[in-house]
């Protein structure tokens, strides 16, 4: 009987929730006074009452922050903000970023072999382009000499590029590069070389977070400049503006109130869309174009895929910015953004060029999971994949990860055949008890979406056979039956486990690593505090950015 094996799989998968409890036992003993949060050196985790939640954790419960290297997208956004560069030179040239839990972080892979040359080539291309807009980039004061203007530019440019004031040694090197080149050639080439140099420097490429000592052993508090940097990459996927750096210099970011007001300001800025798009695509695992069979899906191509990805990002942005940002809207809102490319997949007519917000039949399709790109990505080349979809719901929405398939002799699921549905073929597969142990855990959740084919189009029948998309949700805090994907998602939107899971993913996205026990405790409590008033993605952004888990790190 498979019951023992099933339990093994379910237990493994539930372990995540248990891990989150570690370190959450104390809870009430932290100082709760006033929360004035002055940056006076006495600020320790919990003391500021930053999120109204206190976690008492052992000193080694705080992880050090691994140093991140700018992702290709962050590099491109940074040079857009700093220099008005509009091409995507880094994305076109650099190797793919390394992801932690699906989010690009670059905390492990080294710049090695020929990578330095690639970075040099990118810097050169950006710098050459920038000096074609020399006046716009330099913003010289009237009457200023070329040299004075260039040196003052280098100082301003490095402050934002490095997310801190450059040291006099650092400025000395850059100024000399400018002066020598300007003397040997001309002012423009001097500026070009200085920009080229800055874009290859360690303080531009790397994001170290070291912090300053707190009275609590092993715990450091991020400095103002480090918080400005962490904030700007979290909210804008790019370098800070001068306002944020000025605020850091004034000590405003040392307080929760200061962080909060800048978080609100930054979410109103158009640059916030970059982060929303970047988060949505990475959370949902939408990267490379999934390969589709030309015969099964003749209409699917690169253009359709690009539109579908863009459409998901627009949906996510819409829910966060134009609705209350609740899980209910995120998981069930009957809306898609469709353009001509997607009209066929969504079975609707689109009149205008570009994307149109269009209502869907709420009984059939709604929410982020039933977007075409998500469903097409979680599918095979010739058909849907209830296995991929089910595993995704378990791992990305419930943070319950089934173990990988057994390595020895994976028993294949029977190939597509016109006389059997996916459900029937999967049922045969589950007759093997080794397979059943885990497949019983995720197959039913994936089968809920069987009304969507391998490219995410709605279908009444599979090969002319009736589709049964019903099932039971188990191993969650919102267990119960569902008739189809719409019903499954409306169950999940009420789940605290799902809310915690989403908060955790925002946090991983924000800090580029998995949460430490201390972080996990803070995040769990932070989510719990929202469940009564209504969970909102906007609010989560603010709460994460003002939480102890964002403001403190382990000491190196």
């Amino acid at each position: 009987m498979p019951s023992h094996r099933f339990r093994t799989c379910a237990l493994l998968a539930s372990a995540f929730a248990l891990v989150s409890d570690v370190g959450c036992t104390g809870g009430t003993s932290g100082s709760q006074d006033s929360g004035d949060g002055q940056g006076d050196g006495s600020d320790v985790p919990g003391a500021a009452g930053s999120d109204g939640q206190v976690c008492e954790v052992p000193d080694d419960g705080w992880a050090v922050a691994p140093m991140r290297r700018l992702t290709a997208a962050e590099y491109d956004y940074a040079v857009a903000d700093l220099l008005g560069e509009t091409r995507h030179v880094a994305a076109d040239t650099l190797d793919a970023d390394e992801a932690i839990s699906g989010f690009a972080a670059n905390t492990q892979v080294t710049v090695g072999g020929g990578d330095a040359e690639k970075l040099a080539n990118v810097a050169r291309a950006v710098a050459e382009d920038a000096v074609t807009r020399l006046n716009e980039v330099l913003k010289c004061a009237s009457g200023q000499s070329n040299e004075a203007c260039a040196l003052s530019f280098i100082e301003r440019f490095t402050r934002r590029a490095y997310r801190r004031k450059a040291t006099s040694d650092e400025l000395g090197i850059l100024n000399q590069l400018y002066k020598d080149k300007a003397a040997a050639t001309d002012h423009t080439q001097g500026v070009r070389l200085a920009i080229e140099a800055v874009l290859q420097q360690a303080p531009f490429l790397y994001r170290p977070i070291i912090g300053a000592k707190t009275p609590k052993d092993g715990v450091n508090k991020l400095t103002g400049e480090e918080l400005a940097s962490r904030m700007s990459f979290f909210f804008w996927s790019s370098v800070p503006d001068d306002e944020l750096l000025d605020a850091a210099d004034d000590g405003q970011l040392d307080t929760v109130e200061g962080l909060k007001s800048h978080a609100e300001r930054m979410m109103k800025d158009p640059r916030f869309d970059r982060t929303l798009q970047s988060f949505a695509l990475q959370w949902l695992g939408l990267g490379n174009e999934p390969q589709k069979d030309d015969i099964a899906y003749p209409a699917f191509n690169t253009e359709v895929w690009r539109s579908a990805k863009s459409s998901v990002a627009q949906f996510f942005s819409y829910v966060v910015k134009e609705t209350d940002g609740s899980l209910e809207n995120l998981f069930t809102s009957p809306v898609v953004f469709a353009d001509q490319q997607l009209a066929t997949t969504y079975g609707m007519t689109v009149k205008a060029n570009g994307f149109e917000k269009t209502a869907t039949d709420p009984k059939r399709r709604g929410g982020v999971f039933m977007q075409a790109a998500v469903l097409a990505n979680l599918a095979g080349t010739e058909e849907s994949s209830p296995v991929k979809r089910g595993v995704f719901v378990r791992s990305k929405l419930l943070c319950q990860s089934p173990p990988p398939p057994p390595a020895n002799g994976v028993a294949a699921i029977a190939p597509a055949s016109p006389d059997k549905t996916q459900r029937q073929r999967l049922e045969e597969h589950r007759k093997n008890p080794t397979c059943a142990a885990c497949h019983a855990f995720f197959d039913p959740l994936g089968l809920a979406f069987e009304h969507f084919d391998g490219v995410g189009a709605y279908r009444e029948k599979e090969h002319g056979l009736a589709i049964d998309s019903s099932g039971d949700l188990t191993e969650s805090d919102v267990d119960g039956p569902f008739a189809d994907g719409v019903e499954l998602m409306s169950r999940l939107q009420g789940s605290q486990v799902v809310a915690e899971c989403l908060t955790t993913q925002f946090y991983r996205f924000a800090v580029g690593r998995l949460e430490s026990p201390a972080d996990a405790c803070v995040l769990k409590r932070l989510t719990a505090s929202m469940m009564g008033q209504g969970y909102s993605v906007r609010e989560v952004f603010t709460k994460v950015a003002t939480s102890d888990a964002f403001r403190f790190v382990g000491r190196i």
Partner: protein, 457 residues
């Protein structure tokens, strides 16, 4: 160089190197190559497939030591039999007690090192990408010996190897947990190797106008300064970055050095690059449709680079561990990884295709370059392998290994070596090190019975 895309032939190798803007780095080594000596292998070339070889009974040769025939999957190697040393199904690379996930197998193949412990979380996304090997791969160890001073100590070139960019899945390791990601973009490779032939704006040219060394000094200073502030693990990453910057600087500094005339040779940039100015073609360079074209372009460039002595160590990664693209170019419509699990015949055919258009093509190209009294192939040690034997079983038992080339006189080719028992695959890696004159009796962490006597090293 009248035609950007056309053949570029130089009677004088050094003139070519100067024109290419990278050559003089190799100057001290040219006499070595031009000497008629056949004393040691000058190069190591490894080509690695993925997801197993399909049906084992169609892969390994039939016959005995000196009288054997290739099998169905390896049929295209029949004309090269005199240049091969074949092995049977006797190499055993099994670790972790048997079956092993793809990324860990790929990491083990050339390192014979245990995989890193899995990440301490239950996150499938991170975990399923596998863990890294905990030691250097054999090509990197040998590159330290024979590649020093060449413009590129080693090259790792991939095709359809997207998953190599993830935590696991790499086959080349600089050191423990430090993978080298195979370059997938053939144009990036071309521009690095042959910068004067670089066709697009920016790439390669910027550093070579005199400021490169100064820039690299400034970069090194900033990296060193940051290194003093961060933890040990981050410090190690900055060391690798520093090394990459110094290597680049060293290459740049040698560009303008004059060098004298010399004998002619086959040093020429590859003549048949795909057109890059056509976006549609560039974007369609997908392994699903153009695996052969990408493989062969990589081979062309690598052989050209070796003929110019820009590099002496090359690893080709063909496909990817757990490749998600379907080999539609040969009518297979499922993802390659699925083919390996569901369709052993299809996987055999796919393997035969990559051997014919990849490995046999490599041997043909290397044989076409005359060197001394023989060819480039005679002066090189060449290896073909795969992370698995039986891909469906995820098994490193019956690991396929084919050696080729004279290894500079060290290897006696034209043989099919059978041991009559299983041997650890690390024994072959030990022998490979010894072929290059390293006096070692073990490699990596895998217990070894020592070098393979039949190889005579």
């Amino acid at each position: 160089m009248s035609n950007r895309y056309g053949a570029i032939n130089f009677a004088d190798r050094r003139a070519f190197l100067r024109a290419m803007g990278v050559g003089a780095a190799a100057a001290p080594f040219i006499p070595l190559l031009e000497a008629q000596a056949a004393t040691a292998p000058q190069r190591l070339v490894i080509m690695v497939g993925s997801n197993g070889v399909g049906r084992l009974d169609q892969f390994f040769p039939k016959g005995d030591t000196n009288n054997f025939t290739m099998n169905a999957t390896t049929q295209s190697l029949e004309p090269y039999k005199k240049d091969l040393i074949c092995f049977g199904n006797e190499f055993d690379g099994r670790i972790m007690g048997g079956a092993i996930p793809h990324p860990e197998a790929a990491g083990n193949l050339l390192t014979a090192s245990a995989p890193d412990s899995p990440p301490p979380d239950k996150d499938a996304d991170t975990r399923n990408k596998g863990t890294r090997a905990t030691g250097p791969s054999v090509d990197q160890v040998i590159a330290k010996l024979i590649g020093k001073g060449t413009a590129f100590e080693s090259l790792a070139l991939g095709c359809g190897s997207q998953s190599a960019n993830q935590l696991g899945g790499s086959i080349v390791y600089r050191g423990s947990k430090d993978p080298i990601v195979a370059e997938l973009n053939v144009f990036n490779t071309f521009d690095r190797l042959f910068p004067a032939g670089a066709m697009s704006g920016g790439t390669g040219k910027g550093l070579r106008d005199g400021d490169g060394a100064k820039l690299m000094d400034a970069v090194s200073k900033s990296l060193t300064s940051l290194k003093g502030r961060v933890g040990a693990e981050d410090s190690r990453r900055l060391d690798a970055h520093l090394e990459s910057v110094s290597a680049l600087k060293a290459r740049l500094e040698t560009i303008s050095q004059p060098s004298g005339g010399g004998a002619g040779g086959a040093c020429a940039a590859p003549s048949a690059m795909p057109p890059r100015n056509n976006t549609a073609v560039f974007q369609s360079l997908l392994p699903a449709k153009y695996l052969k074209e990408i493989m062969q372009t990589n081979v062309d460039m690598a052989v050209a680079a070796m003929a110019c002595d820009l590099t002496r160590v090359v690893v080709f990664q063909v496909g990817a561990t757990t490749a998600l693209w379907p080999p539609v170019f040969m009518g297979l419509r499922e993802q390659l990884h699925d083919v390996s699990h569901k369709n052993a015949d299809g996987m055999s055919k796919y393997t035969a295709y990559t051997i014919e258009h990849g490995f046999a093509y490599l041997l043909k190209k290397m044989k076409s370059i005359p060197e001394g009294n023989g060819t480039m192939l005679d002066n090189s040690a060449v290896v073909w392998s795969n992370e698995f034997g039986d891909g469906n079983a995820h098994s490193m038992a019956s690991l396929p290994i084919i050696a080729a080339g004279g290894a500079g006189g060290k290897w006696k080719t034209g043989r099919y070596i059978r041991f009559g028992r299983r041997r650890r695959h690390v024994d072959f890696l030990v022998s490979l090190c010894r072929t290059f004159g390293m006096d070692v009796t073990k490699f990596g962490q895998d217990p070894t019975a020592g070098p393979i006597a039949e190889l005579g090293v």
